[in-house]
Amino acid sequence: MWKLLKIELFKIFKRPRTYIAFGAIAAIVFLFQIALWFDGKTYIELILGNIDASFDFSDQFKTHLLNGYFVCFAVLNILLIQMPLLVALIAGDVIAGEANMGTLRLSLSKPVGRTQYLLGKFFASTIYTVLLLLFLAILALFGSMLLFGINDLVVFRSTSIHQMSQDDIFWRYLAAFGYAAVALTTVASLAFLLSVFADNSIGPIIATMSIVIVFTILSEMNIPLYDRTIKPYLFTTHMVAWKGFFYVRSNEEGATIKGSIENLPAILKSLSVLLIYIFLFVGSAIWIFRRKDILS
């Protein structure tokens, strides 16, 4: 299995397209950081505009607010919606790409079981996803911490504001990145499943992107009919649960409880839903692939 995994990783990282995702992430994060470096106060004022009738915000407040943790949260808020597309670029190609090049039949002629072969490819896609996230973490978190310094993190939700002290944030990012790895693996497993059906990698990549976009729009819509019937079952609804690590509980006096998570059971439930999806997608891919006539 380890040998298979090494071969698959070699294949992934040999292709130039693999590095498109890394380049895209670096470009987005860098552009975002530059924008906030030069005009961060405008962005902050835009967010604070809703409550500036009740509070005085000094320049020092705005400077403290625009710190590395805040910038990283803003980057993740934007980028973790786009990242599934970058993951699909590789995961949608792992089987369909081989079929397209006509090497799939040849690969399967080796003394390796189809299940093992597929799992090798899936784990390679997962490692790629984790590396992509690690790259994002280094740029968005450590890069922003270096550029903007650290301070308390203030998270602006739709109807509430959560503030965490600076010594209570780093572990939340570790947990959030861990969760995001599972969320993106779900997308990778979907692309992987679709890849089994196709002989051309464009199809599974486009199909995965389309599903993620449609599901994300449905997840973000606030229509009671969808809230009760469709949204709880969409994996995209649960993919944003990494933010739950930044929602804190407060005591009766409204003070943040250090180290608390507002609704950990909800995050664990979302995590379970994603794990079930991964199991279903990968299981289905294996089940279908094992019965498939490989003609290319």
């Binding site: 809703n50 739709s158 509430s160 504001i161 503030q163 933010k243 003070a255 943040t256 909800a266 979302s270």
Partner: protein, 242 residues
């Protein structure tokens, strides 16, 4: 019996004379000790006037329906006549508008601008003094002070403004009573509704968001517990420009 004959009887009676003199003395003593509202405010102003500036360190708790914030260590800087700054040097603190009123000295800066009305005493024995601005265009419509006459400190105040509703201030005195500076201040204020579009915040719906209607039009409080004051050591004006 007419009044003259009553007076003759009264002056001839020894006990009546004693009673009359005692009653007169009591009446004089009571009047001599009863202070007018203006006098009380002047005395408080004189007491507070001894403080040219101070720097205080304290713990600040913010209790606003839609904000969850940790208890913060803040510094409060004051310089006469009316400069005040609440500063969180290392972290972030939401400072409510009107927090300048946490310094009661501000009321005494221009006493001539107010009509002073004595409104008696409340049920805890605090003297109620109302200040009405003479200027119709002033933002403050009415200030009500609850004064501890014995210690010459303002223990509570209500300030009603045109633009930002009513601010209330409660002050507890202990260690710094002799300077007229509180150990604890609770400042309550009106909060406007807070709402950002979900399309911007892209919230994770973990089922914990409260009903937004419950968060509307609530009063918020900021509580500062002072640890220490550094009084009259001089403060640079630059600090107030932050």
């Amino acid at each position: 019996m007419n009044l003259i004959s009553m007076f003759i009887v009264f002056t001839k009676c020894r006990y009546c004379k004693f009673f009359f003199v005692t009653l007169s003395l009591l009446f004089y003593w009571a009047n001599a000790n009863a202070q007018t509202a203006e006098e009380i405010l002047k005395k408080i102003k004189t007491k507070l006037g001894k403080i040219k500036d101070y720097e205080a360190e304290g713990k600040m708790k913010t209790n606003v329906a839609f904000i969850k914030a940790p208890v913060a260590t803040v510094k409060v800087f004051y310089k006469e006549p009316d400069k005040i700054l609440i500063l969180n040097e290392t972290g972030i603190s939401f400072i409510p508008k009107g927090s300048v009123n946490i310094n009661i000295n501000n009321i005494f800066v221009n006493m001539q601008a107010f009509d002073i009305i004595d409104a008696g005493k409340d049920n805890t024995g605090l003297r109620i003094i109302k200040l009405l601005p003479k200027d119709d265009t002033a933002d403050i419509v009415l200030s009500t002070l609850y004064v501890d006459e014995k210690n010459l400190v303002v223990k509570k105040s209500k300030i009603t403004t045109k633009e930002n509703g009513t601010y209330e201030l409660e002050m507890n005195y202990s260690k710094f009573l002799e300077y007229g500076l509180p150990d604890k201040v609770i400042f309550s204020f009106n909060t406007k509704d807070y709402k950002l579009p979900k399309g911007i915040t892209l919230d994770y719906d973990d089922g914990s968001e409260k009903n937004p209607d419950k968060l509307k039009n609530k009063r918020g409080t900021v509580e500062i517990n002072y640890k220490n004051y550094i009084i009259n050591k001089g403060i640079d004006d630059k600090i107030f420009r932050r």
